[in-house]
Structures are given as structure tokens and as C-alpha cells.
């Protein structure tokens, strides 16, 4: 995966994130404070800003995005996304074959978000989505899939996990104070991940 392609794919994901803002606010509003879309609009703006500056090197680019989000979107969700980018940046330092690289990045992002947010799989948070994506990418690496195909499968895993969260009670964060109100609606964080990965996979597929 070269840098120009990564810039293109991340740009498409950021645009999809901007478009999804009202939907993310709506989903977050069922049990949270209804501002995930607001934060993610800010995240998308920062991602595009960093992409436009033409940072050289994949780890450097991901690191600059993480630092930018930490600076510009200090809410809980912003901090978690910043952590995911920073960990992914560290994980891809050694380079390697693209599918394995993606798997390493998402595994590191999962671990970072899990530790920072103190959430475990099953708590109905972004961690559930990242865990399914990480597992999918690991399987694709083992199966020797080409990275575009692996990304498409990961997006599919993110979508089905987001759907599955609709039947789960939230156990972390503000939503856990009123767990019943969230039932029947997919988790906002998992939906966000499904949206950006779907957009990234579609762009990668050309």
C-alpha cells in the first residue's frame, strides 16, 4: 500500500464520516449525549487537513492524524480515535506485506482503545467493532488474501457487528446509565467504524 493510495482511501473515509454526522448524532442520542456526529465531523476535518499537508511516510501520516485529533477533538470519542491512530502508527513502523500490515494496525488500535476506554468486548462499544475487524484481518492474513479483499471483508465484519450491537445492553460510558434505551439501535461507535471502513473498502476497490 503506497502513501498516495492511503491518502485517497483515508480521504474517502473522512468524507463518509462527514456525511454520516446526523445519523451518528441520532444513534448516540438514544442513550448517550447525542454529539458523536459533531465530534466526528471535527475528526474528519482534521484528517483531511493532515492529508492535505502531505506528511511523508505512512507511520508519520497516521501519527500526525492521531496527534491532530488529540489536539482538536478532546472529547471521549475523539480521544479514543486519536489513540487508535497513534497505536496504528507505532504498529506499522516496521512495514511489511499490506494485509498483514492492516491486521497489525487494527490489532494495535484495538488494544489501545480497549486500554484507554477500559472497555472489553461485549460491553457494546467501539471495542466490539474493532475486535471483529481485527479478527477478520487476521484470518485474511492467514488465508493470504490481497489487501483490498481483506479490507472489504473487514468492512463486512464491522457492519454485521454494528447490527449485532442493537441487541446488546451497553456496559460502559454514559449509555450504561440507561441501558434499555439503547436496545434496538446499533451502537453509535460500531456504526461509525462500519461506515468509514465501508467507504475505505469501496474506494480501494476502485
Amino acid at each position: 500500500m503506497n502513501e498516495a493510495l492511503l491518502v485517497d482511501v483515508l480521504g474517502a473515509a473522512a468524507s463518509a464520516l462527514e456525511d454520516a454526522a446526523p445519523e451518528l448524532n441520532r444513534l448516540d442520542g438514544f442513550a448517550g449525549d447525542g454529539d458523536l456526529g459533531v465530534t466526528m465531523t471535527e475528526v474528519a476535518r482534521i484528517v483531511k487537513e493532515v492529508l492535505a499537508t502531505g506528511v511523508a511516510g505512512v507511520p508519520e501520516l497516521l501519527g500526525a492524524i492521531g496527534t491532530g485529533i488529540a489536539r482538536g477533538a478532546p472529547s471521549t470519542s475523539g480521544t479514543l480515535v486519536a489513540t487508535a491512530f497513534l497505536r496504528a502508527s507505532q504498529a506499522c513502523g516496521e512495514g511489511g506485506e499490506p494485509t498483514a500490515l492492516l491486521a497489525r494496525c487494527f490489532e494495535a488500535a484495538l488494544e489501545g482503545v480497549r486500554a484507554r476506554g477500559k472497555a472489553e468486548p461485549g460491553d457494546r462499544t467501539l471495542v466490539d467493532g474493532l475486535a471483529s475487524v481485527s479478527t477478520s484481518l487476521e484470518a485474511s492474513t492467514a488465508d493470504g488474501l490481497e489487501w483490498r479483499e481483506a479490507l472489504a471483508k473487514a468492512a463486512e465484519a464491522a457492519r454485521s457487528t454494528a447490527q449485532a450491537t442493537a441487541a446488546m445492553e451497553p456496559k460502559k460510558g454514559r449509555a450504561s446509565w440507561v441501558p434499555q434505551r439503547a436496545l434496538g439501535h446499533p451502537d453509535a461507535g460500531c456504526s461509525m467504524l462500519a461506515i468509514v471502513l465501508s467507504a475505505a473498502a469501496a474506494r480501494a476497490a476502485g
Binding site: 488529540a70 478532546p74 471521549t76 479514543l80 486519536a82 497513534l86 460510558g173
Partner: protein
């Protein structure tokens, strides 16, 4: 809403401008919503960085001073500062001996301080963290590490700040502050809610003549609500809860801090202190030091909290070391 403000949205920044205009010799601002000691960084001294939401003065900015913290990241009202603010504060106070993050245990603050630590370490700084978890009402003793941090942190600033001022190493400052923290418990009572400037409405409702024992400094639910009782009864209930968890008894030395939440007069705090002192002494506990006043407020919430810290000679010595800040002349 009866408040002396301009635009509600400008509340935090105008408050900060006021602080900097009033105390130019003691404090400076190296970045937006970051305030540090005017003489920071001090070469070879461990730096102490704190921070949290606004609305609690003198917490957190009031503890930036000699023998206390070196820098603070100032959040919106009741909201965490960003990791970037914490990082800016760290850069401004790091004198090469490392930085301790000392703040209260709230999920947003923990995430941002942890992220800042990651960024600071990547820049080559040494960073260690001690989180205040003194509020016994917020989780049972078995899960003490999950408790929120409240007014007791004022005493932790003295311990950590004095240790750093003496020239102790990062590890030494952390060890003694953690020991002080493990022997520190607080509990409060709220009599009326507060109103966030930007919200305009009280954060919760508490009918006249009612009190809520154990309520948090952001209006988090407490352990019991009922008719307002006399100061002596409140003191006994708070001290019972605190001392149980502290396993503190006859012959033990403690320091006590009685804190007003913003709208309770200091006279009432002394009335409360009188009974707190009595409740401790009746258990054979020796009150070696006491402070009464406003140390961690919740805007104009009425009520008070009591903090008790177990002492040993080393911690008592650090508590007695000189400490002063422009916002807390007597501290």
C-alpha cells in the same frame, strides 16, 4: 441564573484572563488554557501537572504554586481538558527530572492524561501518574481504585509538591504521594445544586430542606437523600463512612480537611469541623493538622465535604513544608 458573568460561553476564558491579570508575577500561560508557575521549568526539579474541568476553584489552578503543582490544564466547566493541553503543560514544566500527573479520577480526565503521557513519553519525557480516588461514596472499599477524586487531593498536592521541591526523584515523589493517597478518604453532603453558566439550569434538583449524603462534585448521585440534619449528625455520618474504610483507630494520627462546596459559609464549615474533630477524638484518633475553608468547590453548590488522611512522620513533614499559591495564600 444569578451570576456575575458576560457571555456564558466566554466564562472559562474570561476567568482565566482575570487570573493571569491579577497574578502576573506568579503565573503565566504558555498555551491556550494552560497555566504554569511563572518560574517554570525549574531545572532538575520534578514537575507536577494537574488539571480538570473548570467550576471547582481553587481546584485545580489554585494549586499551581511554590511547594505545590507546577502547571495545570484547564478544561471547560465540568469537562476534561484535552490531551494536548496536558502535553503543553508538561513541556512547560519539565525541568529534566520528569513529570507527575496528579489529578482526580474521572474517565474523561484519565483518558486525556493517559494520552498526553503517551505523547510526552514519545517526546522523551519521563511521566508518572497518581490519581486521586478519595471519595468513599463513589464505590465500595473493595473497588477503591474506581472512586472519584474530590477535595482530599488538596493534601496530595502538598505532599507531592513538597517532595518535588525538596529535590526528590520522580519515583520518590510518586511513592510517597501514592502512600498518602492510599490513606486518604473523603465524603460530602450537598444541600443545593449548582448551575453551569452555559446550561442556565441547575444540574439536579434537591428540594429545600433536603440533603444528599455522598453526592459528587458534579452532582453525581450520592448514597442517601433525606431531611437536612444538624451539623453534629452530618459529621458523625461522614466520619463513620470515612474511618471505616480507612481502618484508622486509637493512637492513629490524621490530618483533616473540611471543604465548602461554594455556597456554604466558612462559619458553617467550622461548626461542622467542631463535630468532625469531636467524632475523631472520641475514637482515640489524634488530629494533628486541620484545614477549614474552600479547597474544591462545585460552582455555587451548597454543602461540604470532609477529608481525612492517615499520617506518618514523613507525610506530616511534607504537609508542613511551605506552600503558597496566588489563589490560596494561606495554604
Amino acid at each position: 441564573m444569578r451570576k456575575i458573568i458576560n457571555q456564558p460561553k466566554a466564562f472559562v476564558d474570561e476567568m482565566l484572563e482575570g487570573v493571569l491579570l491579577a497574578h502576573p508575577g506568579s503565573l503565566r500561560s504558555p498555551a491556550r488554557r494552560v497555566v504554569v508557575r511563572a518560574d517554570a521549568p525549574r531545572h532538575g526539579k520534578v514537575g507536577i501537572v494537574t488539571g480538570g474541568g473548570s467550576g471547582h476553584l481553587p481546584l485545580f489552578m489554585g494549586y499551581v504554586g511554590t511547594g505545590l503543582a507546577d502547571g495545570v490544564a484547564v478544561g471547560d466547566v465540568f469537562a476534561s481538558p484535552s490531551a494536548d493541553q496536558v502535553l503543553e503543560a508538561s513541556r512547560a514544566v519539565d525541568g529534566g527530572a520528569g513529570v507527575v500527573y496528579l489529578y482526580g479520577n474521572y474517565s474523561g480526565d484519565v483518558m486525556n492524561f493517559d494520552l498526553a503521557a503517551e505523547l510526552a513519553i514519545a517526546e522523551g519525557m519521563q511521566v508518572a501518574t497518581v490519581v486521586g480516588t478519595d471519595d468513599v461514596a463513589s464505590a465500595p472499599e473493595a473497588q477503591a481504585e474506581r472512586r472519584r477524586g474530590v477535595a482530599g487531593i488538596a493534601m496530595l498536592y502538598k505532599v507531592a509538591g513538597a517532595g518535588a521541591e525538596e529535590g526528590r526523584s520522580l519515583a520518590e515523589v510518586v511513592t510517597v504521594t501514592e502512600r498518602a493517597s492510599s490513606g486518604l478518604r473523603s465524603m460530602g453532603v450537598a444541600l443545593s445544586p449548582c448551575t453551569l453558566p452555559a446550561a442556565g439550569e441547575p444540574t439536579f434538583s434537591l428540594p429545600d430542606g433536603q440533603m444528599e449524603i455522598g453526592m459528587g462534585i458534579h452532582g453525581e448521585p450520592g448514597v442517601s437523600r433525606g431531611p437536612l440534619r444538624p451539623a453534629a449528625a452530618i459529621a458523625v455520618e461522614l466520619v463513620d463512612h470515612i474511618v471505616d474504610g480507612l481502618s484508622c483507630g486509637r493512637g492513629d494520627d490524621v490530618a483533616v480537611l473540611v471543604n465548602g462546596l461554594g455556597a456554604t459559609p466558612v462559619e458553617e464549615l467550622y461548626v461542622l469541623y467542631r463535630s468532625v474533630h469531636g467524632a475523631l477524638v472520641s475514637r482515640g484518633i489524634d488530629v494533628r493538622r486541620a484545614w477549614v475553608g474552600e479547597f474544591a468547590t462545585s460552582l455555587e453548590m451548597a454543602g461540604a465535604s470532609v477529608s481525612v488522611m492517615r499520617l506518618d512522620d514523613e507525610i506530616l513533614g511534607l504537609l508542613d513544608a511551605p506552600a503558597r499559591s496566588p489563589l490560596l495564600a494561606r495554604w
